[in-house]
Symmetry: C3
Subunit: 470 residues, 3 copies
Amino acid sequence: MQDPNILFPADGARVRSLAAALYDTVKALPIISPHGHTDPRWFAENKPFPNPTSLFVQPDHYIFRMLYSQGISLESLGIPQSGIHADPQATADPRAAWRIFAENYFLFRGTPTCIWLDYTFANLFGLSERLSASNADATYDRIAEKLATPEFLPRALFERFNIEVLATTDAATDSLEHHRAIRASGWKGRVLPTFRPDAVIDAEFVDFQQNLHQLGEVTKEDVSTWDGYLNALRARRQFFIANGAAATDHGHLTALTADLAPDGAARLYARIFSGKTQSGDLELFQAQMLTEMAGMCLDDGLIMQLHPGSIRNHNRALYDRFGRDKGADIPSSTEYVRSLRPLLSKYGNDPRLTLILFTLDETAYSRELAPLAGHYPALKLGPPWWFHDSPEGMMRFRQQATETAGFYNTVGFNDDTRAFLSIPARHDVARRVDCAFLARLVAEHRLDEDEAFELARELTVGLVRKAYKL
Amino acid sequence: MQDPNILFPADGARVRSLAAALYDTVKALPIISPHGHTDPRWFAENKPFPNPTSLFVQPDHYIFRMLYSQGISLESLGIPQSGIHADPQATADPRAAWRIFAENYFLFRGTPTCIWLDYTFANLFGLSERLSASNADATYDRIAEKLATPEFLPRALFERFNIEVLATTDAATDSLEHHRAIRASGWKGRVLPTFRPDAVIDAEFVDFQQNLHQLGEVTKEDVSTWDGYLNALRARRQFFIANGAAATDHGHLTALTADLAPDGAARLYARIFSGKTQSGDLELFQAQMLTEMAGMCLDDGLIMQLHPGSIRNHNRALYDRFGRDKGADIPSSTEYVRSLRPLLSKYGNDPRLTLILFTLDETAYSRELAPLAGHYPALKLGPPWWFHDSPEGMMRFRQQATETAGFYNTVGFNDDTRAFLSIPARHDVARRVDCAFLARLVAEHRLDEDEAFELARELTVGLVRKAYKL
Amino acid sequence: MQDPNILFPADGARVRSLAAALYDTVKALPIISPHGHTDPRWFAENKPFPNPTSLFVQPDHYIFRMLYSQGISLESLGIPQSGIHADPQATADPRAAWRIFAENYFLFRGTPTCIWLDYTFANLFGLSERLSASNADATYDRIAEKLATPEFLPRALFERFNIEVLATTDAATDSLEHHRAIRASGWKGRVLPTFRPDAVIDAEFVDFQQNLHQLGEVTKEDVSTWDGYLNALRARRQFFIANGAAATDHGHLTALTADLAPDGAARLYARIFSGKTQSGDLELFQAQMLTEMAGMCLDDGLIMQLHPGSIRNHNRALYDRFGRDKGADIPSSTEYVRSLRPLLSKYGNDPRLTLILFTLDETAYSRELAPLAGHYPALKLGPPWWFHDSPEGMMRFRQQATETAGFYNTVGFNDDTRAFLSIPARHDVARRVDCAFLARLVAEHRLDEDEAFELARELTVGLVRKAYKL
């Protein structure tokens, strides 16, 4: 029987205690991280992290973009330079950079960065005071001291974090040397590569022609032909699979797909390969390649991930000095329904394909993504991505996607991070927000309590294992 | 005096008790259903519904699209095939299909489907246990047994549901034979037709030329001319009015309207009629016809409804086998402000016209629809539609539209359903969500209690009766 | 240490009491109004406001558009006519118009208009009863009586409202006579002009050529040349600065910017000046001028505001009779990321520039505006604008922008109003909603209590003073 108060707002204290009860059953479950950007070298070499600044500040674009937005130079933070106008000598004293960060920590109020860092400082380093100018040095010293201990070596942290699987993201031509070294070492931590072929599919990618050449080299395929190119990609996928890969990943400007006849595709590739392209060729080639990649997934069983909609390197001057991934990638409006149709017409009805969609355009949740995923057997919805990997963002995702897509067309959480130490914090936030969402449904009698407990576990470990076949 | 705590969050228990008090005053009010897709034949013939599967599963695209998205074939559910590759012999044992549905009922957790079905199972069939594999057969038997009783004949249910008006949706060329039979039968249930001319306005509609021909036949007008075509539509509108129609309905891909000079419109129609169209003609013709239809509303007093933004039959392979309305209609971004301007320039200032706008693009609520409806006398906002006819969706509509459009530019609830048995549940959800919204406004001192009670009644029966002149 | 209940929903009563405690510390802070549309003449002349209708109804498009949407004519409300088909004799008895307003006050239920008016009626006029037909006359008399007293003269109200700064919005060619008169009068109220050059930048503006001519006249510059035109604008900016201006403001249809080479810009201006434009010239010129204006801000230190996305005068017939600003300006989808790139490439990395962005398209908050403002030193986010200056709208802004932009890339509240008497109410609403938002963060342990108290003050007076250099 439905409760007479179904759909009426619930008492906050009741929702809180339900959320806490749900969370109690999932908080200690292992971390499964099927998509992210940590460096496999860390686990291969297992050397100490050098210092607090290089660990927390310099690789984390969430942090330095916010400082930069308030007029703090990237030079003063010691952000590595890699653009065409880079000053390779540029450096900054890590402690001085840390002090700038600490003085300006208040800028992060209300952002997930605070939650992740406070969690990490407290749980890993026993630091219970809020970071500020006054404790900058003491904090720095405390973290530096801990980083020098065996308990803070990458593999020790991996185990302490209770990570069941950690996927990295790797270029199609990568040697996977670190992944191989990890496996060869006998260490049991599962660090899996992910096949990310953007650099050999996006003709505007840095050194694209060289990347193609390298693809030919490592596969001994003749990449000057369409068939050779496809065979080279197939070969690299097999190499990734042999080294543990579960998935591919594609970062495109749009979600456009195409389904050209083979001869048309071959002619298009010839123009791409020769560099003598016509207007629209670059986008069309990327579109065609998504469909090709989906077809290969049917053959080799890899899971496919699509991350469209980021306008990369929006700030040209900054890019010319510092290079990619410096907090100047800005989302844009992203269309899925017409864009994905060619791929879906070809493969969307095949339940053996799993294509996991991400978005930076939250308007697509209820309008496009949930209706698509709530229909096509091949589609699943990835968790809130990047800017939306935040308490409010996660709650909006559940509120806007669940009623149409259900829970079972979603795939659990991705931390998608370069910041290794933030991984437990990020998963903890996701678990808490999911439990809060489920608790509200129960308190409003929209879900039974036993269902909520089952779902809490599914959202934490069940769906991700199933979707990525882990 | 404003309360000193105005706009501060309220205690959940207080909001809940206010919501319950508001709901108590509207829960038993009659159901007014001015837009939907039930079959008038049911009420004309008043025969028993055949079995639980044909009643709950096979006509409900909310249900089978979700099962399909998880890899369950439509064949196994016995979904009728009507596409060009249909297998007309295809069938499935209703009980076997029901078992599949029951086993997978957990997929609907968090979706409105659960709320509607649980309500219906409990209130109509006395089933208090959650549907699952273990009670699939018992549930099937219980429902089948009930359906065979006189209390479950269509007319008896109509009366039991306390339906004051139920509007169906009917092609422009429909004979309205079932509506006429209902009226001729002496039964007092008000089942009204709605004039939906898409099939004779959208030149891409299945059998468009044949539909035009049929339009000429039934009206004895020469539809080879623009004037004859318009006269034919006028005649059909009169026929619908004579059979009780209150409204028209238009399902277009976009909200585009046009206001061509008569001779330009005539030339355009000549191209449409001949099938020798130029690029853009089809869309322009639909656009022009919306304005023509609005003009006819001024003459004959029908209420006009516009449902734009659904990309129909997105899944070609599925369409070719199963035909329309199989859960593969996907929303897309929809523009209203520039699109409606031609129509509004001509008729928007005339308060005798009522044009009710719906959307599948929730971003339009606060950006376009509420500002338009909060200005033009001819415009009103329909309730959240289709995917958004859900607790979260309804709440977003109230939160995003009310502050600019007010309550009085909205028109109450539409259930818009083919699933007759779900009608009480759907209206109950709408009443509950509206009461929850009003209760929060009262608890935050943004509305007085007496206003909330008045509004609860308006949102349930007042505004719909006024908007549709019922 | 993070609270064990971090991110779980909080008890409403706890959030309410926290919100009230925060509000207690900011409710009496001075009002800083850096952007609005009050008439400087009021403060220059300091004459009594004529009557309740002319004060509350006739200048407030929030009010008359809603009445109009429900079929009430603007003539009956005595809205002044200024279009090409105006009836300059048209008038309406103010009391009769007030009665119409009072009878229909229920239409505003759930809208911010009620909150603003109830606040104003109660706090300024001691009217505690809800406005209705039955108290229309008594209310009118009471307000009229008060308006005749010295305490209700514009300057007295300014002081009573505790206004620290009030910015008006003024044409580039304005004589600023009233601002000069205020300064010359010795009265200490700070009423600042704002430089709004739309009428000499938008070639579709009414009397554009005449406006250019007037610009040349008042500056003695030869505006027939690109250099002369730019010099004329520089001169007017200096004139505004000499009369206290802190900022510029730009109302454009889109956020498009351009960065033409000087000779290309000069040729474009020559076409604009001659009226012999090519397709796209008007939009391109506006785009180029935004970049020029940003450059001038670096030279003269004015703050730059951009308000894009309103389709002005959507209702042509109404415009022809009543003129601009009659509630028929409708928002549209607005793109920022690509549009602003030319300007940002040139000036976006310069922290000396402050460009404050507004939007009528809420989808841009999380997708475009927060990521841009969370990166570029020159960008800040203006508060929710126009239709979104409402409790739900403000809360959505905080929820959608804060996690990426933080609080410190926002600039406090703008009332943006022509309705002088509503200013305290509008600021009160903003303070309450901000406190409610902060309180929730504290109750969910996402912010410490001391941080919330600090932020409440920053959001009320700190950030606005800093952003506008007041």
